[in-house]
């Protein structure tokens, strides 16, 4: 079945540093979604990428979809303590297939 690999598994940064998580698939994706799960919470939708090479921004968050539609990334500029949580990419089909997630911790 379809799988998405996500790295790194964990990342600790100092507040103000940048953060990036990467998502890769062995097959071409129709689209990819990104979710954030705060500790103790449930996944919350951030964005969907559909087009090859697409780049979308949400304030300090930048999302990219690769030209071949097999990889994606989420970049956070100047992290804040409110950014802590686990970020999941998910391949969208009939249902979502989630990557293993990247857990971000931020120290002030």
């Amino acid at each position: 079945g379809q799988q998405v690999m996500q790295i790194p598994q964990y990342q600790h940064v100092q507040e103000g540093e940048d953060f990036t998580t990467y998502c890769n698939s062995s097959t071409t994706l129709s689209n990819i979604q990104w979710y954030k799960q705060r500790p103790g919470g449930h996944p919350v939708f951030l964005i969907q990428l559909v087009k090859s090479g697409e780049v979308k921004k949400q304030k300090r968050l930048t999302f990219q979809f690769g030209e071949a539609k097999k990889n994606s990334s989420l970049h956070i500029t100047a992290t804040q303590t409110t950014d802590v949580g686990t970020y999941f990419c998910a391949a969208a089909g009939t249902a979502l297939i989630f990557g293993k997630g990247t857990t971000l911790s931020v120290s002030s």
Binding site: Q33, G41, H42, Q48, A95
Partner: protein, 112 residues
């Protein structure tokens, strides 16, 4: 958007027993999804539930262990049967809403 509630929010159960988790959505939806999230892990799809038909289970999940009901377009239940400690997990229901999926708050199950 969709607002999803789940009951119970958490439970501690003895091995060998069964627990039924309820999922209520504030709007009518065609498909509902059940996921499992083991501690510190990602979400794994258990099954997709359509109203009026049998649920479709993912590899590794079977109806005898995880029977699902979908009596109408706003409600579904997932039963975890004959539980063992390995079933300790968070169980989440989810629905589609346009381009995104909405998740319920989850049911945290501990099996002793």
């Amino acid at each position: 958007s969709a607002v999803i509630s789940q009951k119970p929010s958490r439970d501690i159960c003895q091995r060998g027993t069964s627990l039924t988790i309820q999922c209520q959505v504030d709007s009518q939806v065609t498909m509902m999804f059940w996921y499992r999230q083991q501690p510190g892990q990602s979400l794994t799809l258990i099954a997709t539930a359509n109203q009026g038909s049998e649920a479709t289970y993912e590899s590794g999940f079977v109806i005898d262990k995880f029977p699902i009901s979908r009596p109408n377009l706003t409600f579904s239940t997932l039963t975890v049967s004959n539980m063992s400690p390995e079933d300790s997990s968070i169980y989440l229901c989810s629905v589609e809403g346009g381009a995104e999926q909405y998740f319920g708050p989850g049911t945290r199950l501990t099996v002793t």
